[in-house]
């Protein structure tokens, strides 16, 4: 066997293995819950994970069909220190029901990070901020505790007022919920107000 041929066959073996792992890790085990297949899917996914490869992701899983859809969330973030300091405010957007086709990435980042944890807390969840999906609430408030303006005003706590708009799937009506809470900058806990 010539060296180029050997190289080609080695490459082929690698390619077949990699493609087999990709396909095996995408076996829809929720539909075919045959145990050996579940193992194959899990282990091939694990091996790909080790090399930082994602075979695919479920986007819009739709596992549940809630009767209310999150329509819009807006926030006013204030620092409490020597003075009261406005750190972020887009409440007006929700009051005016303004939807932007191309939105500000940081605003989207805040909505995606904060809406879930604040709704969970409002519904009575008592999870630690260190648990998923609560961590963004801790991380965002920690960021605002230490932005230069907050450091200057010696901010000791950050509070968030959130306006949540929900759409009923059954009758198309929109409801509003106001949620308030704060975190002391030196504590990893959330106080509902």
């Amino acid at each position: 066997m010539t060296p180029p041929r050997l190289l080609r066959l080695t490459g082929l073996a690698g390619l077949i293995t990699y493609c087999a792992l990709l396909l095996a890790s995408s076996i829809p085990i929720v539909l075919v819950s045959f145990k050996p297949l579940v193992w194959v899917q899990l282990y091939s996914g694990y091996l790909l994970h080790l090399v930082g490869v994602t075979p695919g992701l479920e986007v819009f899983q739709g596992h549940t069909a809630p009767r209310a859809i999150h329509r819009m969330s807006c926030f006013r973030i204030t620092g409490e220190g020597d003075t009261r300091l406005l750190l972020y405010d887009d409440l007006e957007r929700c009051r005016r029901r303004r939807v932007d086709a191309i939105r500000d990435p940081f605003q989207t980042f805040l909505v995606r990070g904060l809406a879930g944890p604040l709704v969970d807390i409002d519904l009575g969840a008592r999870r630690s901020l260190a648990q998923a999906p609560m961590q963004p609430l801790f991380l965002v408030t920690d960021y605002y505790c230490h932005v230069p303006a907050a450091e200057q005003a010696r901010v000791r706590a950050v509070s968030i007022e959130s306006l949540y708009l929900g759409l009923s799937v059954d009758d198309g009506s929109t409801g509003e919920v106001v949620m308030r809470g704060r975190r002391r900058c030196n504590r990893p806990t959330w106080e509902v107000r």
Partner: protein, 308 residues
Amino acid sequence: MLPHLERFFFAPIRFRGLFVMRACFGLIAVFYYLRLLPYVQPLFGPAGVGGFQTAQRWPTFPIPTTETLEHFELLRHIADPRVVWVLYAALLGSAGAFAVGLLARPAGIALAVLHAVFSAQQPTLSLGWAQLYPAFVLYVALSPSGKAWSVDAWLARRRKQAPPELEAFSPWALRVLQVHVIAMYASAGWPRFTGQAWLRGETVLHAVADTRFGRWDLDWFSLQPLLTAATYYALAIEPAATLLLPLRATRRWCALGLIALHLGIELMADVGMWQLMMATAVCAFLPDRWFAWIPGLRGRDDRRVAAT
């Protein structure tokens, strides 16, 4: 079996869509990261959300990292904001270079790695597309994607060397990309048959009415029949793609249906770069001659050696 597989991965093909895919993948990153320019430090800097300083203040707090990109969690260890700027500039530079085909292969590899580094930092920012993107870019970078429609090709012509012709190439990296796309649709598509919102035809309503994603303020509730039809279209075509894309007879039509789906979603909802990325990746299933009308790719030997 082995000769078939060997032919599948190594038998030369000609596929001009590769150059278009390279440009599109590069532009996706340029567009995405340029929009983040005002927020580089709040999102990725040491004093940013979940950055180096938070990790120092709260050493035991489990700051989340994007799943599967844990190996690339680098930014959280950088104390100097200037280093973050340098890395960001390198990321934009490599994305731009990949888009225009300047040192296409190294630029593509750098883009894949730097994108993974930046995406690892903020899991809530990217909505999952960021996890697939590095692999897709890497496949295209490992193909001869800079041979045409590129600054590399233009420079070669200027140096009066023989211009890099659109010759057939060994398509192993393109084949891996095709397999990965099929795996992606299998992962995303089939489990939807257990999703209540999908089966009730409500998922598209959930996506467009929720302004975390939806772009327009319309009375979506009154458009429900249309949205139900769109939900069932997505529910059918993505799992079907795992069966129709491998077949020569159905491949191109299924790819067109998927591109229409992704561009339609992009028009209605903002889910990061998901839709543009997938629409670009699906181009790998289109015939070579469908790219012949593109300036710079036409007028050459138009042998019908399709990417099939």
